[in-house]
Amino acid sequence: MLRLTRVLLILVLAGLVLAGCVAPQPAAPAAPAPAEQPAAEEAQAPAAPEEIVIGAIYPLSGALAATGVDLKNAVELATDIINNEYDLNLPLAKSAGLPNLGGAKIKLVFGDHEADPEKGAAEAERLITTENVTALVGSYNSAVTATASQVAEREGVPFLNPESTSPTLTERGFQWFFRTTPYDKLFAENFFEFLDEMKAKGYDVSGVAILNENTLWGTDVATLENEFAQQYGYEVVANIPYEAKASDVSSEVQKLKAAGEDVALLQASYVSDAILYMQTYKQLDYAPTAIIAMDAGFVASEFVQTLGDDANYILSREVWALDLAESKPIIKAVNDMYKERYGTNMNGNSARAFTGMLTLADAINRAGSTDPAAIQQALLETDIPADQIIMPWKGIKFDPETHQNVLGSGIIVQIQDGEYKTVWPFDLASAEIVWPFPKWSER
């Protein structure tokens, strides 16, 4: 018995050590830059103005460590842009520090939540009570954001959430919680806005077919899509939930075929089932007017790798894409800085964290003090125009009740020659949309 216990214990330990080893590698190159920065500043200005401490709670270790490092890099870059002078059309970029607070600099303190809601709350509490942070940003995982923002709500500290998309978060009626990213409901609505705009261009569909995997995520997406279809006046010709682990989907595809091909297919799938469906579509020669996917499986790297050319012409929602830089030069400028420091391009997560940090600093500056109530008021008055953010949004403005950014929006990308190209909103498109989805025999 003891031997067994010991063996199992050693296995568990090995697991812990392995989990730990994943993180330090990406973190290492990032560390030197921010470490030197504050030291240099202090040396230049001995009579340094007061510092404004902001806590950032992210999954810096554990299974999500790689994402956590992206997020940490993004808020560090944003902080550098705020604290120093840069010729960029972003809030607070052209001045050093926060002008309304006598040029005070932002100092970041990080908390690691390991994707655990309890640890997220613990970190929020620690940052507020022992590090005396003025405000908090974070925390990526919706579940952790939920508990960490509860602590901030209790303590009366502003909490800005740049990247969690669970609808519930802004339905809690919190006073101190603000969210800049669009959330799942908005993304579903985007599909119908897109279809309406296509119709205005003369590309009509007779209705929509909804195909979703049947666990919580797919079911929720389908429910929202059904609601919006009704609201926007699109007939739902088929509504097919399926088992994501199915090894054969020809009967589902036959049903879709029978429902007519003159429709837009709205699909929510994970990666292996998305691939299986594509193969079955080809085999049974099913080509609806458009296939519009709720990201997930369709934006996983395996999708294009496995399907090659057969992956082309799929449309999918996204939060951000690097090719947006072609229509928004500010994205290229920021991404170049990011790439130079951290060696990778920005992605949807880092772009949103970066934007969240700037939004928070902008509000603190307008508040002109570190008084939480003044910052809360300033956040409510936030009005950042579209050209001052690196996101494909119409701007940043919070709903006075829910504190959700009402100007947020997703984008729709299309796979063309194996690459994801932004095709909607049309004014941000980097490529012309291919419409309708070509017949399999004609490609």
């Binding site: 330990l13 730990g20 973190a27 390991e114 309890e118 509490e125």
Partner: protein, 344 residues
């Protein structure tokens, strides 16, 4: 006689120090860490009843933890039933489920029992992830109730409220374990652990006593599950039915010393602050380094003293005894004596 009086004095002192803790340590992060230490002590002791005394290593205790959390939370958010009541309903549900799981899986011995419990734990996680009525993968948010009244089982300003609740649970499980060590059932469990065939030949109904141990263990785990839900105010299948919870429970008990009263408490007192402080001081700077340090420390202890921290303590006592400085031993080392009593 002299020694007993000395022990009583230490006990009273420790109890007083524990009770006064929130008054001399005001810092919220330290208070929170202390709450976690006590919480994991209770969980470790609960695991210890089945895994330590009865020797049935379980890696599925998150089932009971999750059931406790979900039962009280569901009853509260849907029907407005007080979590105080829900806590005991949750314990009842956990006991029932422990019978359903225990009955078939106690036929399995050693490794196979441990594997079966891991599988059972995963099954529950999957069920709750897909069960829409209880929030599916999203989980359940508990409403924040201000006012810090004991009846609400929620404390927003007066953190110490949580501390005293969990401390009371610790007192209860310490008493239960202490009694267990000295009753017939405790001896039966130890006999089963040492040699189940021999125990059976002496007329002990092994399955029944293993089940009893599992039921007590499940009930306490579920009660702490409710506490966790009220403390964190958000539960989801990925957090309360997580394999990580089952492992941590076992880890606390094994590292401290299984089959002892103080072991799991010492284990929690060492492990939890270690995890919290390595995270706080290392995580922001060096990614996952704190997990490496944490893992290494656990490895060192388990390699050099497989009997856990209690083993180190006992070894030290033996050395002192050998030098003639102490002439009797603490009541914790009763395994051998216990087997004799079971025969009688």
């Amino acid at each position: 006689m002299q020694r007993i009086r000395w022990q009583l004095l230490v006990l009273v002192l420790v109890v007083l120090l524990l009770l006064a803790f929130p008054f001399y340590v005001a810092q919220p992060f330290l208070q929170r860490t202390m709450i976690l230490v006590v919480m994991w002590s209770v969980l470790g002791l609960a695991w210890n009843i089945l895994g330590g005394y009865a020797g049935q290593v379980s890696f599925g205790h998150a089932i009971f933890f999750g059931l406790g959390a979900y039962t009280s939370t569901y009853l509260f958010t849907e029907w407005g039933i007080s979590p105080w009541l829900g806590m005991f309903v949750g314990a009842g549900v956990a006991v029932l489920v422990s019978i359903v799981i225990g009955w078939p899986s106690f036929r399995l011995v050693g490794h196979y029992f441990a594997i079966a419990t891991i599988a059972a734990g995963e099954i529950f996680a999957v069920i709750f992830r897909n069960w829409k009525a209880v929030g599916g993968a999203v989980g359940i948010y508990l409403p924040i109730i201000r006012g810090d009244r004991l009846i609400d089982y929620q404390f927003q300003e007066f953190k110490a409220g949580y501390y005293y609740i969990i401390l009371a649970m610790l007192a209860l499980i310490v008493l239960v374990t202490y009694r267990l060590e000295r009753t017939r059932m405790g001896y039966y469990l130890k006999a089963i652990r040492e040699d189940s065939e021999a125990a059976r030949s002496l007329g002990i109904n092994i399955t029944r006593y293993k089940l009893y141990a599992m039921m007590i263990s499940a009930a306490f785990t579920a009660i702490v599950g409710t506490f966790y839900a009220q403390f964190v105010l958000y539960i989801s299948p990925n957090t309360v039915f997580a394999l990580a919870i089952s492992i941590q429970m076992a880890l606390v008990a094994i590292l401290g010393g299984t089959g002892t009263l103080l072991g799991p408490i010492i284990g929690a007192a060492v492990l939890i602050p270690m995890a919290e402080y390595t995270r706080v001081y290392l995580a922001g700077r060096a990614g996952g380094l704190h997990l490496v340090v944490y893992g290494l420390l656990i490895m060192l202890i388990s390699v050099y003293q497989p009997a856990g921290l209690m083993g180190i303590y006992r070894e030290w006592q033996h050395k002192r005894a050998a030098r003639g400085m102490v002439n009797d031993s603490l009541p914790v080392a009763t395994a051998e004596g216990g087997a004799d009593d079971a025969v009688a």
